[in-house]
Amino acid sequence: MDGIQNPPRSIGHVTAQRARFSEPLPLRCGRSLADYELAFETYGTLNADCSNAVLVCHALNASHHVAGSYADDPDNVGWWDNMIGPGKPLDTERFFVIGVNNLGGCFGSTGPASPNPATGQPWGADFPLVTVEDWVDAQARLADRLGIRRFAAVMGGSLGAMQALSWTTQYPDRIGHALIIACAPNLSAQNIAFNEIARQAIITDPDFHGGHYYAHGVTPGRGLRVARMVGHVTYLSDDAMAGKFGRQLRTGSLAYSFEPEFQIESYLRHQADKFAGYFDANTYLRITKALDYFDPALAAGGDLARALAPATARFLVVSFTTDWRFSPERSREIVEALLVNRRDVTYAEIDAPHGHDAFLLDDPRYHGLVAAYFNGIAA
């Protein structure tokens, strides 16, 4: 299957689109959204029999902007641009790729900052708590709208992988392959604890105003900054941080102050500032809750194999050795459940030093594997 391939390049300039849905979407929390919009992007060309579509699901802080850049904002490169494009592992010359901003998001899809039709004011705290399953339902409606009955593959990393996994049981006949990267079948107590620290940082920020901060013209930026710092640390391995920052000082000597002295402090503050500048706190709260709630085995009495029994897709499961947030053991739980069900599954454990973030980085073994897997998918 090693044909002559063009060198990988960027998909180039892309354009975000929107789709409005007026049929109410029932949510797992018991409420429903009467009317909502989804922001999405597509790359490549849908073939005549609509069989080459690949859905790419995003993780915590990402969006529908998966690959390429915008003509009026060329520095805004898609979050998985190293994976997706012409000649890249997910080759847009073969596949029609879709990225969607999930419901409750803050990049164009209906979310807490959108107007609540009942009041005309931003939803704020009143926006429902959405789940991975709700997102998948919404994605399926977008697929209907685009004429895609069945995805050749659904792919994601981390929280995105949870959506891909959920696709295999929510819509088993609508997904050919699932690429489940750096995933876990549910969050551990430690994972939930980190999320709760992040949420408490936001909720106790005096500018949070019970979630209705839009009306006060402020954002709980301090809380969001701390939330991002906590999260960011969990995405990196100890070794990666040691290698990148060690105990380096910014100025070469200690200042005996609370100003950032170590490079790692300065880096975290920079990441936090950047994040607080573009991300919505209510969205962050909801996404961390969606992570906490995800637990497909729960409805099957804790039996993941039984929960995954409806899945008929073929699976590629990938983990990274230094990922302590979603460790290889957690991915193996998914694999073991698939083995019990005798599903087609390949599992690879990539020896990478970068921790959870490795799924976003360009590692030749990892990308080579994904490229080979997509090569084997008939489209």
């Binding site: 299957m1 090693d2 590629l316 193996r332 694999v335 073991e336 083995l339 019990v340 005798r342 087609d344 599954v345 390949t346 599992y347 690879a348 454990e349 990539i350 020896d351 073994r365 080579g368 594997l369 080979a372 897997y373 090569n375 084997g376």
Partner: protein
């Protein structure tokens, strides 16, 4: 590294013997599956389903390219994650002699599978004996292509050794084929055969 510790897949004379034993449609686990050639062969010849297990990154990639399901993992650590008696056959093709923990891997094969199939180069083959006895050197051949200093083979054995092992470790041999240059030999197999292929199960335990 495409044919396991014995190298070139073209020389994998054990494939036909294994395919002859495996029931059509069986569920198979192939330990140390290399590039997945045996599973691909059994899938086309016997319509089996199943998985390979490999530790090596390049082999895992080769399996994906060959369309073979593979689970990356270290056999030396056992088959944790594979349920008891979840496979009809667990195959260890030309890898037994490279395992550090022979006992553990054979035990795990018979925990996870109803039957085990192993193949290994017969160290008792006359050409090996001649190379040691007369040449005074460790044998090097098609089946044993390595020099003593770079061989992955840490537990070489003869047909007699393996059968003694089975007797002492509660393993009941169901079938045996010993090959000399791809041809089965029956008389003086431990002397004339270069490659041994066994099918076995757990011996009934005494209550």
């Amino acid at each position: 590294m495409s044919g396991g510790p014995l190298g070139n897949p073209v020389t994998r004379a054990d494939f036909d013997a294994i395919a002859g034993w495996v029931r059509p449609g069986a569920h198979v686990l192939d330990l140390g599956c290399g590039d997945g050639a045996l599973l691909a062969y059994l899938t086309s010849r016997r319509k089996v389903t199943g998985y390979g297990v490999e530790i090596d990154d390049a082999s895992v990639l080769a399996c994906v390219k060959n369309g073979v399901n593979v689970i990356q993992g270290d056999l030396e650590r056992g088959l944790e994650g594979f349920a008891d008696r979840s496979f009809d056959y667990v195959i260890l093709s030309q890898t037994l002699q490279a395992m550090k923990h022979t006992d553990r891997v054979v035990g795990e094969m018979l925990r996870v599978g109803r039957e085990g199939i192993v193949t290994f180069p017969n160290f008792g083959y006359w050409r090996n004996r001649v190379q040691i006895a007369l040449g005074g050197h460790m044998p090097v051949s098609d089946n044993l292509p390595y020099q003593w200093w770079d061989t992955p083979n840490v537990h070489l054995c003869t047909v007699h050794d393996f059968e003694d092992y089975c007797r002492l470790h509660g393993v009941r041999i169901l079938e045996r084929i010993v090959l000399a240059q791809r041809t089965p030999v029956t008389r003086l197999a431990n002397l004339r055969g270069s490659l041994a292929v066994y099918r076995f199960e757990k011996a009934a335990t005494l209550e």
